[in-house]
Every structure is written in structure tokens, then in C-alpha cells.
């Protein structure tokens, strides 16, 4: 039996014989020859899902109680350690600015006055989860064989290399290549992320050209070194808009072991409730830690992120009564705002836990009469997520 947010979406799709007896609709699919490939098996499960949604909803309580993801499949996500990031790049490429803007909420305009970094600077942000970040000054010869690089690179999840796209970037690329080779040889588990930074000053066309050129060069060279198969991700970023937050979100998402489960949960929610896009936001940093599998657009993220600001501000204005004491634990914290007069499309927000919120962009056709369906399904999603994050 697979319920909407039951156990099997968090584990690999169950074998067909496992669910044979419980699901009344399974008979038809069980008659498939056992030789069916995994892919078609998946799609039949998908149809199954739609057909049996009603039954699933009825029996969801059972599904939830039999849920046991945390115990069985490896250590729970938060035990695995917090996402640790390491910022690297040539001098004056914007490492400190990124770190300060994202993790310390420095207004972007004030990054102009930041001093050059001379020693390893660490910062951590306590939010829904703790983000640890560190910044390496350019002068440090970390790759030389006699340097104790282990002290820096062990426990690091991702290395972010920042390229100043407004500057001459060829030197930066060759440095990046040395780093990439170094990482591939010594720390193959570390993700390498490349931020093509300071794109705010470039025209749309030039921005794209730069992005493509950097990617092409790095990829070609890496292939020559024999590490072409190593995944390197590239992002266009700027601290003056939301692109840096979106890029950081994508970097962080890769480091979360629970990502596939969250992604599946959100995707299912989206298809059930006609949601255009759903995000799980870390409210404090405004980094999203999961989203559904549909393509992401910066525009959607922007409007959601701005709306989180609105809610936080309003909460601050009127939440003065219970400062210090804990509010009513049972009450649901939720919010919505419609886009236009018709009220047909809207943003829906629901707090999952302290500092973690679900934010949905509702598409066309999700008017007021869809609300009960949404409320019900979000409640279930909430329960499932609580279990995912339970330590």
C-alpha cells in the first residue's frame, strides 16, 4: 500500500510483489510481465497513485504510523553534519561580500567598504539548520604539498569558486583548474561549484556569453586533465539581486541527504493541488532547501522571497505580545496573498517549524474551492516533513 505521503516515496520504489495484496487496484498492474523495466514500473505506480488517491487519503494515518525512514536508511539528515561551504577565488572577486550578504544579512551596498581578508574567516548561521562557511584568503598556498590542507578540506561539503565576470577571468580559470584537479585527486567527495559573479554590471547578452565561455573552457581543460566526468556546476550570481540566494540554495540543496524525499513530497503536493511551484524556505536566510522537480525560475523565487519578508515584518509589528514566551503550539501559522483582483492565483505560505516554511505559488484554477484539498494535503506533508527532520 503506498499512501500519498507514505513510506515508499522516501525509499526506492517498492517491488511490485510487496504491494500486491494490499492495494485493490494493483491487480491490473501486477499482470504486467515481470520483465517490465524500472521506468515503466515507475509510471504505472504513478497512474496507480492517481487512481487510488481517495483510498490513500483514507488510510494515510496507517501509512504515517508505519513510517520508519529515520531509523533504517542511514544516519538521519541532521546528524550527518551541517552544510559546510568554503569560498575561494582570486582577490577582490567578492568572496567576503557573498558570505556577508548571504549569511550575515549585510546590505549589498555596504559591501563596498569591506576590507581585504587576510586569514581564514569562518562564519556560521544558526537557522533551521546551521550553515557553516569559511573563506580562504587568496594568499594561502593551500595546494602546495607541504601545507596541511587536510585541516581545511576535511568536512567541507562544497567548495565555491568565485569568478569576477567583470574582470579578466583567464587567470581565475587557470587557478580554478588547479583547484579542480587538486580536489579531484585528494578530496573527490567535495562538490565544486563555480559562481560567475558580479553579473549585475553586464548586459544580458554579454552575461550569457561570459557564462558559456567560462563553462566551455573549464570543461575542456578538465577533460584534457582526465577529470571531465567530474560534475562542476556553474551559476550566474550577483549580490544585488536574488540570484546569489538562488545559487546558494542550489548549492546547499546538494548537501542535504534528505533532499530526494523532500523533493518527492513537494512534487506530489504540486500535482495533487495544482501548485505551480512549491519551495521549502529557510525563513531566516531565505535560502530554499527543497523545491519540486519542475523547472525553477528566478522570478518565482524572487516573489516568494519578498513575500517572506512581508510576513516576517508584519509578524514583528504585531507579535509583540508573546515576545519571550512561547506562542500557542497548536495553532497553524499560515498566510496567503492573491496576485490580482480576481483572487484566482495566489501565494500560500505555511510554517512547518521554526524557521522553516512551505511556500507555494498557486497556479490558475486553484481558486477558493481548492482550499480544503490544499489544507488537507499540506497537513499531511507537514506530518511527513516533521518525520524527515526528526532527530
Amino acid at each position: 500500500m503506498h499512501t500519498l505521503f507514505g513510506e515508499n516515496i522516501l525509499s526506492p520504489p517498492p517491488q511490485e510483489e510487496e504491494q500486491a495484496s494490499t492495494n485493490p487496484f494493483d491487480l491490473a498492474f501486477n499482470s504486467n510481465p515481470p520483465a517490465t523495466s524500472d521506468a515503466s514500473g515507475g509510471s504505472s505506480l504513478q497512474q496507480n497513485d492517481w487512481l487510488t488517491q481517495h483510498v490513500q487519503n483514507l488510510s494515510v494515518v496507517d501509512g504515517a504510523t508505519s513510517y520508519s525512514h529515520g531509523e533504517q536508511s542511514g544516519p538521519p539528515p541532521r546528524r550527518k553534519g551541517n552544510p559546510r561551504l568554503l569560498f575561494m577565488g582570486l582577490r577582490r572577486c567578492g568572496k567576503s561580500s557573498v558570505q556577508k550578504v548571504v549569511f550575515e544579512k549585510l546590505p549589498p551596498a555596504e559591501t563596498l567598504y569591506l576590507e581585504a581578508t587576510t586569514k581564514i574567516e569562518r562564519a556560521s548561521m544558526q537557522s533551521f539548520m546551521t550553515f557553516d562557511s569559511a573563506e580562504l584568503p587568496t594568499s594561502l598556498p593551500v595546494q602546495s604539498p607541504d601545507y596541511d590542507h587536510a585541516s581545511i578540506f576535511t568536512n567541507i561539503g562544497s567548495v565555491i569558486w568565485i569568478i569576477d565576470s567583470q574582470d579578466e577571468y583567464l587567470t581565475s580559470i587557470s587557478e580554478l583548474l588547479r583547484l579542480a584537479v587538486f580536489l579531484a585527486e585528494n578530496y573527490p567527495r567535495i562538490n565544486l561549484e563555480v559562481f560567475i559573479h558580479k553579473t549585475d554590471g553586464l548586459s544580458e547578452e554579454y552575461k550569457y556569453d561570459t557564462f558559456r565561455e567560462v563553462r566551455q573552457r573549464v570543461q575542456d581543460e578538465l577533460t584534457d586533465y582526465g577529470y571531465g566526468d567530474r560534475p562542476v556546476s556553474y551559476y550566474q550570481t550577483s549580490i544585488f539581486d536574488h540570484s546569489i540566494f538562488e545559487a546558494m540554495s542550489k548549492v546547499i540543496m546538494k548537501l542535504l541527504p534528505a533532499l530526494p524525499s523532500m523533493e518527492t513530497l513537494l512534487t506530489k503536493l504540486c500535482s495533487t493541488c495544482r501548485i505551480q511551484k512549491a519551495y521549502l524556505f529557510d525563513t531566516l536566510s531565505k535560502i530554499y532547501i527543497a523545491t519540486d522537480t519542475s523547472p525553477t525560475f528566478l522570478k518565482d523565487y524572487e516573489v516568494c522571497s519578498d513575500y517572506v519578508d512581508v510576513i516576517v515584518d508584519i509578524k514583528q509589528l504585531y507579535g509583540w505580545r508573546d515576545e519571550g514566551k512561547q506562542g500557542d503550539q497548536n495553532s497553524i501559522e499560515e498566510s496567503m496573498v492573491s496576485f490580482d483582483k480576481s483572487g484566482d492565483t495566489y501565494i500560500y505560505t505555511r510554517e512547518i517549524s521554526n524557521n522553516l516554511s512551505l511556500i507555494c505559488l498557486m497556479g490558475q484554477g486553484s481558486g477558493p474551492n481548492m482550499r480544503p484539498v490544499l489544507d488537507y494535503n499540506v497537513e499531511i506533508l507537514n506530518g511527513a516533513l516533521q518525520k524527515v527532520f526528526k532527530v
Binding site: D328, E334, V337, F339, D340, K341
Partner: protein, 357 residues
């Protein structure tokens, strides 16, 4: 009731030295500019008139007067009577970072002298602008000093102390909205009637706070606080809300690809463990923000009750089909305007604003 249906035109002069920030301010409040975009504005040549309809029956006739010395010279000489008659409010903007304070004061003094000559009963709002350029710890002291200097100049020109108000403003925070909210509150013709109706509504809803704001400018027209909400430590929450809503408007405009002036939402709800908050349309031009206790049933009741109360408030926004023509006539001929004002005397004095004749 009949009286409140007539559209009221109020002349608002926006003056100050060149580069003080008059047009920037106007663009942000009334034309949905973002603070960082105002650097694109050029100098204002002569007077830019704009008519802004507020809540249906209040027409703000805003005169943005270019501040370059040659223009000011002409306002004070050959355009003197044209500019300074029938002024309801003068907003004078001082640039706090200005080096040339002596001539700022001189220009201010000659302006209010002319004002006193033609509209002695008008109100003066003095905005000490660009406060963001002053270090935070010196703000109060500088503001105090500036305003006492200016107050002296006003008294020299025989303006009563309560005719003059002082506000420290900056386009980079909500202080701009604080000043403009006061201007609007002073100008709204039937503010006390609206307040009465709103406080009745607040009693019915058992709301903690109601805020009525104008939709395009997001300026809070009036608000009702009940019970313990009066003790809310955020005394500046109304202008903060203006600022929050304005920012939200821009973000929505960016997302939907429309003009910021056209963006409007049907409803916004925020429910938390300690309060529930929603904003809904009240009339054609206004939205109502409501804060109530955390109670789902009361929340839904309140939503329905506000819908029901809408028609009670509908007369605040009389669509100006009928009123438009007399209005135009009134603008052309002084005599017609004087007539109209004559019949409004009672209403005006009820808000403490004597007729300017």
C-alpha cells in the same frame, strides 16, 4: 452626507531649495518609484502640477515647484498671487546636508511671508529631509536644532505654532510615510466621520486594530486601536506598514510584469499563534487592514462582516461622474470655488481648519 459627496480640491504646495528632494519624494509616494530610481529624475522646471485623487472625494492638487533660484524668484514676484492663493498645505523641504543654511532660511522666510499674505490660515509641514546622511547618534540633536530655528522664522512671520509641523524624513526608510500620512490625515475632509464608522466596525469585529489605507500610495489614512494594542511598542507601525506594502507592490509588479500602479491584491492573510491579520478591499480606492486575536472563527466572521460593511463605506468614494464638471468649473473660476467652500464651512471647521478667507 450630501456635503461629503462633493469632491474637495486641496492645493498643496511642495517647495524647497533646488536639490532638496521634493520631486524624489513625490515620485516615491505618488508615482510608485523605488528609492534608488529617483537618481534618474532631472530638475523640475517651473511648476509641475499633478492631480491625485484620494479616496474618491479628495483631490490633491499638488504643485511641485522647481527650486532653482530663478523659479523661486518668479513665484515670489510676478506669479505671487497665482501660486500662493488658496493653499491648504505648504510642504517645505529642507536638505539637512545643505551647506548653505543661511540662504535656505532666507528662501523659507520669503516663501512663508508670501504664504501668509495670501493664505494666512494654511498649514505648514516642514520636512527636514535626507536624514539618512546624518550619523544616527546626532539625529535628534540636529533635528531639534533645525526645527527650533525654523520655528522662530515661522513666528517672525506670524504663523501660530500649531500651524507648523516638523518631520525628519528620508526616502530610504519609512519616515517619509510618517510625514505624508500626517499631511493626508490633515487633508482628508471627513476623517472624523470615517473614524467613527471604523471604530464601530472595530467594536463589531472585536478587532485589535484597523488601518484604512489608500491603495495607490499605501498611505495610512486613519487607524483605530482598541484595548491592549494601544500599548504596541512599535509606535511607527503604520508608516512601517505603508512601507512594507509598497515594497510588496513592487515585488508583485516585477513578478506579474505589470505596472506598479496597477498592482492590487484581493486579499492578504497572515495567521500566527498570537494574532491574525488580513487586508481586504474596502472601497474603490482604499484597503482595510485588520488585526484580531488568534481565533479562527472570529477571523472568518470578521472577513464576512467587512464584506457586509463595504456598502456603508461606499459613499466615501463617490465616483465623480456628476461632480467632475462643477469641479472643472471650480478650478477655472475663483468665484465658483469660493462658493463651494462657503457651503463646506461647517465640515471644515469640524476638523479645525478654518476657511482661508
Amino acid at each position: 452626507m450630501e456635503r461629503s459627496k462633493r469632491q474637495k480640491q486641496r492645493k498643496v504646495l511642495l517647495m524647497g531649495r533646488s536639490g532638496a528632494g521634493k520631486s524624489s519624494m513625490r515620485s516615491i509616494v505618488f508615482s510608485n518609484y523605488v528609492a534608488r530610481d529617483v537618481r534618474r529624475l532631472g530638475a523640475t522646471v517651473d511648476v509641475e502640477h499633478s492631480n491625485i485623487r484620494f479616496m474618491g472625494n479628495l483631490m490633491l492638487n499638488l504643485w511641485d515647484c522647481g527650486g532653482q533660484d530663478s523659479f523661486v524668484e518668479s513665484y515670489l514676484t510676478n506669479q505671487r498671487s497665482h501660486v500662493f492663493t488658496h493653499v491648504a498645505v505648504l510642504i517645505f523641504v529642507f536638505d539637512v546636508s545643505s551647506k548653505d543654511t543661511a540662504s535656505d532660511m532666507l528662501s523659507f522666510a520669503s516663501t512663508i511671508r508670501a504664504l501668509h499674505e495670501y493664505s494666512p490660515s494654511s498649514r505648514i509641514f516642514v520636512l527636514i529631509h535626507k536624514m539618512d546622511l546624518v550619523p544616527p547618534e546626532e539625529k535628534t540633536a540636529i533635528f531639534q536644532k533645525k526645527s527650533s530655528d525654523i520655528r522662530k522664522a515661522c513666528e517672525d512671520e506670524e504663523f501660530l505654532p500649531d500651524q507648523v509641523g516638523f518631520w525628519a524624513t528620508s526616502i530610504w526608510d519609512q519616515s517619509l510615510y510618517r510625514a505624508w500620512t500626517q499631511v493626508i490625515y490633515y487633508l482628508v475632509p471627513n476623517a472624523s466621520a470615517i473614524e467613527n464608522m471604523l471604530s464601530k466596525l472595530a467594536d463589531v469585529l472585536d478587532a485589535r486594530e484597523l488601518m484604512l489605507y489608500e491603495r495607490t500610495t499605501c498611505l495610512v489614512v486613519t487607524h483605530i486601536s482598541r484595548g491592549s494594542e494601544v500599548k504596541n511598542p512599535f509606535a511607527d507601525r503604520f508608516e512601517r506598514l505603508s512601507s512594507i506594502l509598497k515594497t510588496h507592490k513592487h515585488s508583485m509588479a516585477k513578478h506579474t510584469g505589470t505596472m506598479a500602479s496597477e498592482v492590487s491584491f484581493a486579499e492578504m492573510q497572515v495567521k500566527t499563534g498570537s494574532f491574525m491579520f488580513f487586508i481586504t478591499r474596502l472601497t474603490e480606492n482604499t484597503n482595510l487592514a485588520i488585526v484580531i486575536a488568534n481565533d479562527e472563527a472570529a477571523f472568518n466572521c470578521a472577513r464576512i462582516n467587512v464584506q457586509l460593511a463595504k456598502k456603508e463605506f461606499a459613499h466615501l468614494d463617490i465616483m465623480e461622474k456628476k461632480a467632475k464638471d462643477p469641479q472643472r468649473a471650480a478650478r477655472d473660476s475663483v468665484a465658483a470655488e469660493e462658493d463651494a467652500r462657503g457651503s463646506e464651512d461647517g465640515d471644515m471647521s469640524s476638523q479645525g481648519q478654518p476657511s482661508d478667507r
